[in-house]
Symmetry: D4
Subunit: 174 residues, 8 copies
Amino acid sequence: MTAADGPSTATESGPPPVVGVIMGSRSDWETMEGAVELLKEFGVAHECRVVSAHRTPNWMVEYASTAAERGLKVIIAAAGGAAHLPGMVASLTTLPVLGVPVKSRVLNGVDSLLSIVQMPAGVPVGTLAIGAAGAKNAALLAVRILANDNGELRTQLEAFQDKQTETVLKDSWL
Amino acid sequence: MTAADGPSTATESGPPPVVGVIMGSRSDWETMEGAVELLKEFGVAHECRVVSAHRTPNWMVEYASTAAERGLKVIIAAAGGAAHLPGMVASLTTLPVLGVPVKSRVLNGVDSLLSIVQMPAGVPVGTLAIGAAGAKNAALLAVRILANDNGELRTQLEAFQDKQTETVLKDSWL
Amino acid sequence: MTAADGPSTATESGPPPVVGVIMGSRSDWETMEGAVELLKEFGVAHECRVVSAHRTPNWMVEYASTAAERGLKVIIAAAGGAAHLPGMVASLTTLPVLGVPVKSRVLNGVDSLLSIVQMPAGVPVGTLAIGAAGAKNAALLAVRILANDNGELRTQLEAFQDKQTETVLKDSWL
Amino acid sequence: MTAADGPSTATESGPPPVVGVIMGSRSDWETMEGAVELLKEFGVAHECRVVSAHRTPNWMVEYASTAAERGLKVIIAAAGGAAHLPGMVASLTTLPVLGVPVKSRVLNGVDSLLSIVQMPAGVPVGTLAIGAAGAKNAALLAVRILANDNGELRTQLEAFQDKQTETVLKDSWL
Amino acid sequence: MTAADGPSTATESGPPPVVGVIMGSRSDWETMEGAVELLKEFGVAHECRVVSAHRTPNWMVEYASTAAERGLKVIIAAAGGAAHLPGMVASLTTLPVLGVPVKSRVLNGVDSLLSIVQMPAGVPVGTLAIGAAGAKNAALLAVRILANDNGELRTQLEAFQDKQTETVLKDSWL
Amino acid sequence: MTAADGPSTATESGPPPVVGVIMGSRSDWETMEGAVELLKEFGVAHECRVVSAHRTPNWMVEYASTAAERGLKVIIAAAGGAAHLPGMVASLTTLPVLGVPVKSRVLNGVDSLLSIVQMPAGVPVGTLAIGAAGAKNAALLAVRILANDNGELRTQLEAFQDKQTETVLKDSWL
Amino acid sequence: MTAADGPSTATESGPPPVVGVIMGSRSDWETMEGAVELLKEFGVAHECRVVSAHRTPNWMVEYASTAAERGLKVIIAAAGGAAHLPGMVASLTTLPVLGVPVKSRVLNGVDSLLSIVQMPAGVPVGTLAIGAAGAKNAALLAVRILANDNGELRTQLEAFQDKQTETVLKDSWL
Amino acid sequence: MTAADGPSTATESGPPPVVGVIMGSRSDWETMEGAVELLKEFGVAHECRVVSAHRTPNWMVEYASTAAERGLKVIIAAAGGAAHLPGMVASLTTLPVLGVPVKSRVLNGVDSLLSIVQMPAGVPVGTLAIGAAGAKNAALLAVRILANDNGELRTQLEAFQDKQTETVLKDSWL
């Protein structure tokens, strides 16, 4: 791996990303797409990369170790099966790391969930639900975190939540 | 419930709390003690209350609904069994909510974990490990979140993590 | 939410509902349809609403808190995943609450089941089987409850059960 | 089994029982004790018997078949392991049957829970949590059911729930 | 149920059945078909009935109680979900009872398996694998049992097993 | 292994054993003791040996292959963890084989149960409950099998079952 | 079984096999195909046979007992359900045995995994993931083992791993 | 971390280690002690270190990356909970890596097992049983691997296995 391939090369112009969305495999994109859509909906600058704990361990170390200095404020990491990416990244940064267990083929993501959530004391990963619901919620939790010092995001979140409520209420008769 | 009993009555002097640590039952304190110790170690102002989703639902609504305006920035919610507290609180605030599954008597916390982590898209709870390890990590994740706009906390976190590493390294021969 | 949207606006004429059938999402209708058909078969007046613990928490509080005074005698609540609706409703009323775990996409409803059945002492939810069988049985259990002071319903139940028996007996050779 | 041993011989004077509390084995008493205490606290007349689906199948049939005519309005049935008692009783009566999964020695009651809750459509068992919490909640759910035509019980239930709330609120600081 | 519908009316001429194959629902036939084919292959006289623990409890009692006197030597009972048939039948006879857990829709037969195998001491059910493999093996185990006093069956079993071995050996290269 | 150590050397005088009770390890004796007591109670001649699938594979082959010719009519095989003994023995004999899953240290016998019960079509093992209850039931199922051509045993079984019933009935009030 | 059918008859010319790939059923080939492809890719001589613990127990004994003397250095054994093949083979050889749990029809391979991995102390099976991923990794682990005294294989492995890394890195932007 | 603390500093004189035994925490020693005793019994030179994936990620990278050049031939890695050590080490070396799932406090090692065994295709970990049995078997599997080019070890292994057999056989009567 050379620097040219490294995470410092941004593909999107505009403001530098504050959320890094990483996943262990391209096949996880189907799960994570909803997370990225939500970040866009909230106007949160982000980057989106495949970073494999098992196939690119050294780059994972570099990505996680330099994430804070590159301006990221939250890392969303998705992985399936023996899902080591979120926990390993959390051990290499002091940023908040949110883990998304990808639904695995044989065990429905129970392996992914336990591999992500059962971290030992000292290295936290905020874990979301298995699959697409968890991916969307990882984005929403990232926005909630960023909203702590961004009043506009808070207002957007309140509007988002109000809209959710209204959508149910206006069509609640069966 | 009157306002006098409400969450606005602080028990500790000093700066207003930025982290709310709530749990469904006093018996969860054994699990959550480590979280509070870590918040103290990092000098993070916090409050600590029993808020039961099932026995004090109205107060839970009040607590969660007013948390942001009272200055909280993160809520840590612990519960066991059919653990509804973290998810319900998350539905009533836009603050980041971190869930700690308490080890339950009969199912070892599997019920607690699934009740907390399997939230539907729209209402995120960042879930930590079952039991005391998860409690400590909830505190550390809260600190990581707060460190996003608090350089001093970030420095403390880096020192904390370095110390963890050194503790292992200096005594790694068996 | 305004009163106009509230649960006091009945959509069906006829006798006031005595069973409230609520579910966390419109997508749960497929599961719950069989419950409503059985209530109709037994001529039990009922209402059927989407009430989401996570997306409409305040309305859920209103719905549950006013259920008894509006004349309901049993509430059937269905939800999937981190299924908080039945337990939260049970904490806000003294009516009998029956919970139906909806089969969830990734964990087949094991999460739904544990989130509903593992309630702490003090707040009961009578839980039925995962999915459509549980939905039908929730309706039948509601009828059994109502039959306690309604001899006609008891007779109907006995006929229902006799018919079940006959259906098997008359065609039991393979 | 002779009639003298049968369920028609009441051991307690006073009003005839309206709740039957049955369990598969004397060893289940430890679990069910809390249910009986709550029934006493609410002044609900009840009877309490060992009825084993596997060791006394004929008596189980008699007990369940005659329960309604003897004046029972709710049956609470507890069993562990391959827990067949609640479901079999439900198939032999039209009374509401509430099932309590007893924590089993090797599988912590997961077997008991699934054996009770996963009933086929047509024969409902309202299932409570595994173990002592479920036993207490079975009693409370029975009281909620009986309160449907007993205003005094409803008032008692409201007081019970208010007291639960107050107990948490008055001692909620940690 | 009248005697005319009862199990004493044989549908097949020929020798009286020695194996009773019963199942809780006609839909279990798909699973059990392989069992019946094997019994035919071994020339074992059998009968095949739907007997539902929950929908025809009284007939189940009659079927099981009279099985021995009618000449049955083994009962194979299949059921799914809260599968009470095998255990209840075993409690009402002293014949060997073999249980086949039918693959259930939501839990893949884990509920069926635990409901059948986790019988308390005193009432044995010899449980086979979930689904069609278990059905076939129930038939083979019945034949093994009958072969104890039927040398011809033993010889057939030995031939069956030899053929199984040969089938693998003659085509073992991949 | 020499013939002298082999299974043909009986340790007990009296009639030749018709039930072989084997277990993978001496530590399984605690579980199996109840099986042997019941066989004694019924006066069934038996032998009791440690036969380890993994530590004495060749002897296991000899034991199983010669069991029928030595006069055994039923084999009860107990094992824990990756419990291969019952299934392997069943593949090497045409006698009925009953499997007892021993409660394992870390997984409570779930591994033992699945390793024993999930046999492929063609090689049946009649599996009993995990642990001591399963051990006793294996003995009772063996007796039920032997009773097929032994009227005295049948009578004993009926008395045994009657006594079970009486024991519950005479002391059923709580 | 005669010697002519035995494992000494090689179907492929060329160097004698050093890896034996065996599986309990022809239907496991779909799972194991990827293992064989990888062995071919690394140029490792191998043989591939159906060896069934339950249908060909005697041949299994012969295969395993003679594997070392025939020049094999690693055995890869795949099986599903009550998967006894890997453990039994490991008990009959001192070669390293790698186990692949085949995804089973009803339990997704959880039964296969536990039956293979939970071996008692004394008889090791190196277990890989359930299904096709585990099959490929069994081949790779075999190559890693063989590379210990084969520098060329080590070089190939390093190239294999580098290529894996490059494949991810060159296409990591989403 | 400086080189002085690094893995190149051997604590034991004698031949350079060929097996590296590493574990995520000193508390894992209780589990792993049996592995080290067996390596000593077979006279296999080894080193034994705490290497934490989460608390010493950089050292883990160094340890794994340099293992082969330092002469190691097998790495045994033990970890509990979200057990990332074995898989991460396997991604950073081409040596065979054997994983031991440590029994975790709340989930009995099910989390450890799935986190270790469910590796994606490309990075193999040979996984042993949960806990002490797995630890011993990891050592035995390492010896089996080393015996491939060490005839003396093979002889020792055969003697070890013969002794296991004899121990059972000479005391097999119960």
